[in-house]
Symmetry: D2
């Protein structure tokens, strides 16, 4: 009986940041790091710091620039910090679930910032509750924090041989190893302790995590764009399965849990990461342009102009244009001040076609045959209206080209992708989708094509997670998670408000 | 090595409330119950409710009427609730420490509202941390909550024989008994679980707790005034050492931990409780009038009028007047709208004598010899200015009469009484205090007199805690707690902000 | 066509304060002055200051201690200030109507704080609108401010001969005189200009206003209690019809508008003013005791104890006790933390008798015949429940004695007294009221008795407004204001939200 | 002596919106209209509505989505509304200055939303003050509102012959004409009255204003993008000098004040307007592409790629690419979540080069000769760092091309352009600027080129304001406004806080 919790609570795509830098204003550094990672989560933000003895915490709902001001940043003293941006998923939006979690343990403060999703989160939660430890939220991260608060024996008793056989004399490493032994799924963690930080990445490397250096310190971040933002120099990625310790002894690497295969989420390349970030040695923007080039090769179109869905598909569209020779231009404008609003259009406004986000540019579209390049189609709600907008703007033909394969399978490793029922490509074939969105033609980049583009520049490709496209999950997914009606199977725990 | 925490964090005098009443709006009932108990704590307020499956929580800083509005009260659904008012002590004022605490356990929700102070709180805290459980605040109440979240064996292993030998088949009773076995000091608890409430009082009965009935339910409160406020009928006190369970099986009493002696705080009679509350079968107001009468008998004065320090000493002053035959009147007015303000007088205002709280009434004072009755003198800061105000108003003589003995010893059982250094009667004898406050004469009620007054109407007096007057503590107090400089001895834990 | 506005908007009973004191923190002084005047208005508070060139303003909804903090007080620079507490009337509660009003004029800043009510407010409003000046609120005070912004000719043209014929060379005095010529009703004003303050009182002196001195400045306040609070020395009242200027030339008195009669509101003596304030040379508390004495004389009772309705009727009850020889005691306790709450009892709570404000003290009541003294009965809603509470507490008989005559007529001069329909004494005779409230006997102080008590110590009694008791209004009241349904007659102006 | 006010207070570039639509939720429509116009002002937002009798207002600081929620939008009832976004200028940022202004007049509610800047604002302000009308803010718009509140004679007496000689029987038209007769400078107004709206544009048409239709109503907006957003159909521009009335009689046009020349701000074309808006029948995006094409023609470059400064210069860059044949690509990424933050980088962060807004894309830049196209250079602070970023990203050469002429003259007609001292092109020649920004070459579009591009598609070009480029102001600018030190010359009025 595992299904105690709403599955919506499981999916979290977030940004994490950490810094160890004696002499620096680490809370401020973390603020700017989170600012650069804002695209990874807009629901809540938080920073925890430590001066080696006392720890400080502030978190709140909203964008990092809304949560923090000089007044609440100033008390966050110390020489190390961790920070977190949480993704806005529907429901379960409560300050109680905001990160980082910070608790007092026998060994001093312990803070955790977590990006990813544990596929056996309910099992771990049950282990904690069965041990007689109460939990004050529905967050996986609180579970992780309480697991790390107890010695390894508390969890591994009978489950596995001792993990600290290599003589490493670091209690936190031992505890993190015990956690890694039990945890399944995706996790990139930044952990704050009295003496230093730990950066941890799951053995498959499902979610990104990288290291950088300052003159006087070390920075950890979900994406390299945050390193550049705070003036740090990119050092390397945290290796899948690795535990990196950062403290006054410098950067130390420990073996965490080994896996023969790797599986960095390929969707980070397609859409999620910021275009100026670096994964596996390659700049995202460049990889996206290559996707567009490959798409032009695989799915040419007889057209006059190439238009990208702003802003995320602009690199793919430029690639398509460069390869096809069809000129790139803008066909749609986007309201740059679109922010979260709680005001909903009424029926009449909806009916008359309120256009909050995009408008067509007739001068570029009038009488033209248009290739509309998008990075991906997930639910299929936006492509149809965009095709219509282009036609309203005078486009003669609209050929939709998608720079990734059809998304047919849900993600359980930290990207908010819905159930089968919500994924348009799980319900329809390409021709049906074409009709659904009203395009003159529709084509997707092939999965081999996508993988080739991502891996072509890598010296030793080690594999990527393509589960949302291929259905081949790099880890075992419990049957009940797939259930169309899993929300009904699951309970919400005790938490009402 | 016990002194890990700031002692200021130890002292808590609060109000607790609980209700089990299917069919009633229990959050609203709890709101009005806390409203009636507001005098017991003004720093923060909170309510947790449960519908038998899901639990709901809202808490915030400030008065109960500031914390709650219709919008945040409405979601607090269910048929049982607990609530808490927290006392405003200097420092450590943080929403993190607001009560009730609510956690998820293997057996569903667990909420705790606590009035009192554990003298071995640091020991219990250490037990919890040593077990590998992290804590998210400095509050004793979180420690209690986590202790109750684990089975009795978790804490009693090796310390004591099993406590559930009487065959009681209630897991929560077993856990509460384990807690009572380990805890020392003052605690009146209201505990929320999936099936019902538990009301628990320490074996000495240091802090009050009573029961009342509604047509369709049961109410628990620190003081009976809260029962009357919500239309409940007073039933009885929770017996010291008793565990009372309230659920769909009705009210059930369990033996918790027995003590041969009792020690209800006598200072509740003197000052802390609301005058219309009932302790041990007697209305506080009446007992206070008796204190005044006894004081008039023990320490008569040759004077024209009796004036009480408004509003707390009015009953004592009326008693003095009735016994002495000297007419009672008002000699000081009090600003009825005095509330917490963050604006401080500047030096010039202080120097010119800003009078925010009291003003004299010359018409009643002019040329008169005045008996000024106060309920108690703790720090000795207010009596001097009041004597001066009376003289400014024309009083010819001012004879101060205090309706309780000199406060010479700090309290470690839940009333915010300071260190020896701060207690004026621990530093000066009566004559020195008289000179210090500028009175023509000064006399206190004797301790035997106070005890006699409190116990005269009781059928079977079972003892009261008079430690603040006598230095005879009903429980062992660790040496370090007495240390004048214990704040320096103690650490603040990890919590900076 | 006069009835454009809701009558609720007309009734305002407020507190005003002003200070001119180079070298002092005048905003802070004003804060504490308003703090002392909080009983005169709890809806909003505001302070305007001026440094002789620039003016500063902050106002907000709520108690003065809620509106102001160090952060918003600090920018209020200068050497003179005015402040205002606004009364909480139902409806029309909007920051737009908060005072002081501050505008820029040709002659620099102009700020107005107003206590009172103009009976021809709609006429003046119309004058302003007809002159082509727009208004941004429904407040009389904005009307006054705009009237003072224009030269006298703007308003008096054709209405009256020039008023500045005495050669006074002060433009503001001329403008204030023009306003006084046109205004009818009650007004105590404190006016802020570039060079200094003006304190103005209507010719009848309907609302109080007094002056005090600091070492380095002058203070103006609705009541003397505010002078004492800020360390000022009481100087004198502003004479009815007088204009007092306070600036670097000192205190200068100008004739404003003379009236042969005076009419200070007698209800200020009965209830409204703070007991430690001084009107016409006598302390309010003393006058109230005299009311109680006279009441004992006029309406004796055969009883065992005298109880006052806390806290307002305590002085009257003490007087009754002193005169009658029946001992005074407390029979009711009042929740000291009663504050504004937005949570309403539900039906069940109402039915079971929620007791938020008062509780009986059985020990003092049991078997006794009680005289319950109240200061006044206006709507008659509270007396009945109080009588019942006393009986619940064991009182054998309850004799209600009211220290003022029956309130039979509405007030249009600044005290929030309702329509005829709402005044219980306008609908019932004394015997009917007695039955309505369930008392064993009921008696009021006579009007001649009240007037005699108020005037007995005055050297030269000049008359008081007793309209609410006698129906004899000191000024002409427009017929429509009396209309039972005047709220329907009246429009709300343009202001919806 | 005109210079009483800070010049910073004079410059306002804002967005206005109005709707008359019985049966529709006009406040909601206005919300979405303001949402679409957010780029024109981010400091404050407000909406006023009217139901023909009562008027409603809500305004606040921040973005429109921050200011409004369902709770404060709902009470804004009626069938007509006006709205305003205010631009964020340094200083003078106070809710007092937020628009719309709403007052009560003799003829009912009067609301004004204003985009533009009056060059004789101080003169008009003085007229109002001299008439004895007080002002509660420093805003020009309050001055306009009070001018419209009075009949024409109030202002024109002696200045000019009556303006309503054409027999138009509309009092508001007469008042608007009187205002137009006196006002100098830029103003696009939307005015709310009891019966309907008025849309007014200054005779030169300096700021845009257009009309659209709904099934059941009429919409007015600064830019056509707001019409499309709310589902309206574009009708036409408000003609310079025209007064358009919208009420239950439909759309009626009145002659306001004629000017032989027109002078729509050409900088709206270059930068300020949203690319999908329509001015003078042409879509802004298309005109910007033409600017880029012309720039390529006038100032070719020997380069490998064309990069635009995102996002504003993308259309210009695409045009440059299309004309020159040099491929367009992205060379810089922009943080899409950049929002207003109050946290400032510390010195160390600044020194290490915090990169909050842009990052380079090395893959596109490495070894390339880059044309960096920007829309304009005003202060010259951003171009230098961008050139450096491109070089950091590997660019071999950087050729900066600016799609408008050097900005050499301040604007006094509603765009926030600084003093001569702050304009880099007023201090340096092109070669000096090139060195200053570190570019390999630098060229601007010529003024004749810009004008030709803007006017080439117009049937009958009527002139544009090019003052910021040419120094030829379409209206007389008072000498003191040019003064380098005008901020010191000017007073701040009375308003301190």
């Amino acid at each position: 009986m595992m299904g105690h919790y709403r599955v919506t609570g499981l999916r979290e795509a977030c940004g994490v940041f950490g810094v160890f830098a004696p002499g620096r204003d680490v809370a401020r550094l973390t603020f700017f790091g989170l600012y650069a990672l804002q695209h990874r989560g807009q629901e809540s933000a938080g920073i925890a710091t430590c001066d080696g003895h006392t720890a400080y915490l502030h978190k709140g709902m909203g964008l990092v620039a809304q949560v923090f001001n000089e007044e609440n940043l100033r008390p966050l003293r110390g020489h190390m910090a961790i920070g977190h941006n949480r993704y806005s998923t529907t429901g379960a939006s409560h300050i109680r679930n905001a990160q980082p979690y910070l608790i007092e343990t026998l060994h001093g403060p312990l803070g955790v910032a977590h990006n990813g999703n544990l596929t056996n989160a309910l099992h771990l939660r049950r282990l904690v509750l069965e041990r007689g430890v109460g939990l004050s939220s529905t967050s996986d991260s609180e579970v992780i924090t309480q697991m790390l608060a107890a010695p390894p024996e508390a969890w591994l008793n009978g489950h596995a041989p001792p993990v600290n056989g290599d003589g490493v004399d670091d209690e936190w490493v031992a505890r993190i190893r015990a956690f890694m032994r039990l945890a399944k799924g995706a996790y990139s963690l930044v952990i704050l302790t009295r003496r230093g930080l730990y950066a941890v990445r799951d053995p498959l490397g499902l979610r990104p995590l990288c290291l950088g250096t300052l003159d006087e310190g070390v920075v950890v971040a979900s994406e390299s764009c945050a390193l550049l933002t705070v003036g740090a120099t990119y050092l390397r990625e945290v290796t899948p399965g690795e535990i990196v310790r950062v403290d006054d002894r410098g950067i130390t690497s420990f073996a965490g849990l080994h896996s023969p295969t790797r599986a960095l989420c390929i969707f980070e390349y397609v859409y999620f990461a910021r275009p100026d970030s670096l994964f596996e040695g390659q700049v995202i923007h460049e990889v996206r342009q290559r996707m567009g080039r490959r798409l032009a090769h695989e799915a040419p179109a007889d057209a006059d102009i190439v238009v990208g869905v702003p802003d995320s598909a602009t690199p793919h569209a430029i690639g398509y244009s460069l390869e096809s020779g069809i000129p790139f231009t803008e066909g749609l404008t986007k309201n740059r001040y679109i922010g979260r609003t709680f005001i909903q259009p009424d029926d009449k406004l909806r009916q008359e076609g309120v256009r909050l986000k995009y408008n067509p540019l007739p001068a570029n579209l009038e009488g033209r045959r248009v290739v509309l390049v998008d990075d991906s189609i997930v639910r299929g709600n936006t492509a149809g209206p965009l095709v219509q907008l282009l036609r309203d703007g005078g486009a003669r033909e609209v050929h939709v080209r998608v720079a990734s394969p059809p998304v047919c399978h849900p993600c359980f490793m930290g990207v908010d992708m819905a159930t089968y029922r919500e994924l348009v490509a799980a319900r329809m074939d390409v021709e049906a989708i074409r009709r659904h969105i009203g395009a003159d033609s529709l084509a997707y980049l092939s999965l081999p094509g996508l993988v080739a583009v991502v891996e072509e520049a890598l010296e030793k490709p080690t594999g990527h997670c393509t589960a949302c496209f291929s259905g081949e999950y790099p880890i075992e997914i419990p049957e009940w998670l797939f259930a169309e009606n899993r929300e009904k199977l699951a309970f919400e725990g005790i938490w009402g408000s």
